[in-house]
């Protein structure tokens, strides 16, 4: 039940706080690894941490901005032409690509990636009871 509500509240968020407001990722994520930290609370915080950064890879982001400018220029000349439609279609295609890239980034967990390369560091140590 809590998982469902946590999922609902996270997915209901629109544009959320920028990365700057979040605590230093290293330390706070390190706390998650300790066995006495409340699993549920930590994981919901972790969800917020990852889901709240709307970061698109810069090359795609720039492409989107460029294509919007081009589309606006093309349509200023002739709003009903095929070129105008094709230009806005390109904007749509790039926005979709950007959104997929964001989802992919969201799904990749920075802590897991870091621990793959550095399993011996404090943040990555796991304890078996």
């Amino acid at each position: 039940m809590a998982t469902a509500t946590a999922g609902v509240s996270t997915s209901a968020r629109g544009v959320v706080s920028s990365k700057a407001e979040l605590p230093k990722p290293q330390l706070s994520k390190g706390m998650l690894r300790l066995p006495w930290a409340s699993g549920r609370r930590a994981s919901s915080r972790r969800l917020v941490l990852v889901a709240s950064s709307p970061s698109t890879p810069p090359n795609i982001s720039e492409k989107v901005v460029e294509s919007i400018k081009k589309a606006e220029e093309t349509c200023a000349e002739d709003a009903a032409s095929g070129e105008c439609a094709a230009a806005w279609d390109e904007v749509e295609e790039l926005s979709a690509a950007a959104s997929h890239a964001r989802d992919k980034l969201k799904a990749s967990d920075p802590l897991e990636e870091y621990c793959k390369d550095n399993p011996e560091t404090d943040e990555c140590r796991t304890y078996e009871d």
Partner: protein, 411 residues
């Protein structure tokens, strides 16, 4: 090196399983074509190396930004695959290859890349921008058990990349803008699904998706939708009349404000007479039911949940429609609703709820979109199992032939 030779005369329809050829170009070998002759591996030839498991082909049609990726993730998860980051029609990979399923994004069959489309002034929605002949040939080849070299369209650069090898899977999903456009491809599909999102909802979803982007404003989103609308209405929308299952997403009727799109009304339209597909129903098949689960036994928060079920006509065909208006807030609402629906094709009680919870972070997990997508996923699984069971009903004879085949199979 052993390959299947490409003689139409050797078309044998008896199902038996054989060892895989080394090249993987033909999934199964015919008992009689164990010759060492190398054959040109032309993807376009329809060789029937009939196997005991044939490829089931499912088509999914929807406009861009309408939840195809989420739907695919739920579908592959319901079929027992791993729910990976979005694949198929995304920026990094157009093809998802799992244990049993392959998802092909039909954007790979663009005849014109982005530059070409700009020059000619056509959108990707226009059939002129797509190579339907190649699409048909390759889907037919995969369905009959032949691997193909599929072109790859790169969504980031907008160009066509070198082709990649696709081996025929157990289940093949083709998702994109035009799976139902060409009648030849329609004839290959075992099931077709269309996601029909209303304009208000589409607009709201695009705002949610794109507003975080630098440079995207409300006006640019509006302009983009408007510019594509005429092509969409002309080429994409008419495909819904051919679909077996249609999921319509509309704004809710529970809230008096007409433009409310936070809560969704979702209709699952299931055409009658679709092979291996039994429509979901509420309480009594064939009756018209209006059901508000919230009340004495179940308390819901505003605006609650309402269900409708009944027979209807869709493009002058008989269909049954199950509709959910509202959203789930708690687990017990979900399980309560599931316990009252029938013909869900679940393998155990609570499977729908479990699948929904497994993907609670996907968009639509708290309303009809997630619920109906999950149900359709389970229906696809049932369809696949029934088709395979139907094909493999030769029993003992198949076993005998298989043993003979293995003895003959080359090193």
């Amino acid at each position: 090196m052993s390959v299947c030779s490409l003689y139409p005369a050797l078309r044998v329809t008896m199902p038996w399983s054989c060892s895989e050829s080394h090249l993987g170009s033909c999934r199964k070998q015919l008992m009689f074509c164990v010759s060492r002759t190398t054959a040109r591996r032309r993807a376009s030839t329809g060789v029937s190396c009939s196997a005991d498991t044939r490829t089931v082909v499912i088509g999914l049609a929807a406009d861009s930004g309408c939840g195809k990726s989420t739907f695919m993730r739920r579908l592959t998860s319901a079929l027992g695959g791993v729910a990976e980051p979005p694949r198929g029609c995304d920026a990094y990979s157009n093809t998802l290859v799992g244990d049993a399923t392959t998802v092909i994004c039909l954007d790979d069959y663009h005849a014109l890349d982005r530059e070409g489309r700009k020059e000619k002034g056509v959108t990707a929605l226009d059939p002129k921008a797509n190579n339907f002949d190649l699409m048909y040939e390759q889907v037919r080849a995969l369905k009959s058990g032949v691997a193909v070299e599929k072109p790859v369209y790169n969504h980031v650069t907008g160009r066509l990349d070198p082709p990649e090898l696709i081996r025929p899977p157990n289940i093949l999903f083709i998702e994109g803008l035009h799976p139902l456009f060409d009648p030849r491809i329609r004839s290959l599909l075992d099931l077709s699904i269309y996601l029909d999102i209303s304009n208000e909802v589409k607009f709201a979803w695009k705002i949610q998706r794109d507003m975080a982007e630098r440079g995207e404003s409300l006006e640019s989103i509006k302009a983009s939708i408007k510019a594509r609308k005429s092509d969409f209405d002309m080429y994409i929308d008419p495909q819904k009349q051919y679909a077996d299952v249609i999921i319509e997403v509309l704004p809710t009727r529970l809230i008096p404000d007409k433009s409310a799109t936070e809560v969704l009304r979702v209709r699952l339209v299931m055409r009658e007479g679709v092979k291996h597909f039994t429509p979901v129903y509420l309480f009594d098949e064939g009756s018209t039911i209006s059901w508000t689960p919230c009340g004495g036994k179940l308390s819901c928060s505003y605006p609650g949940i309402r269900f409708f079920y009944g027979p209807d006509t869709y493009f002058s065909d008989e269909a049954s429609v199950l509709e959910m208006d509202g959203r789930f807030d708690r687990l017990d609402e979900l399980i309560y609703v599931e316990s009252h629906l029938s013909n869900l094709s679940t393998k155990y009680y609570g499977e729908v709820t479990q699948q929904m919870l497994k993907h609670a972070d996907f968009p639509g997990s708290n309303d009809g979109t997630g619920l109906f997508q999950t149900i359709v996923g389970l229906k696809v699984r049932q369809l696949y199992e029934q088709i395979i069971a139907g094909d493999g009903s030769h029993g003992l004879k198949r076993e005998q032939l298989r043993r003979r085949c293995l003895r003959l199979s080359p090193v």
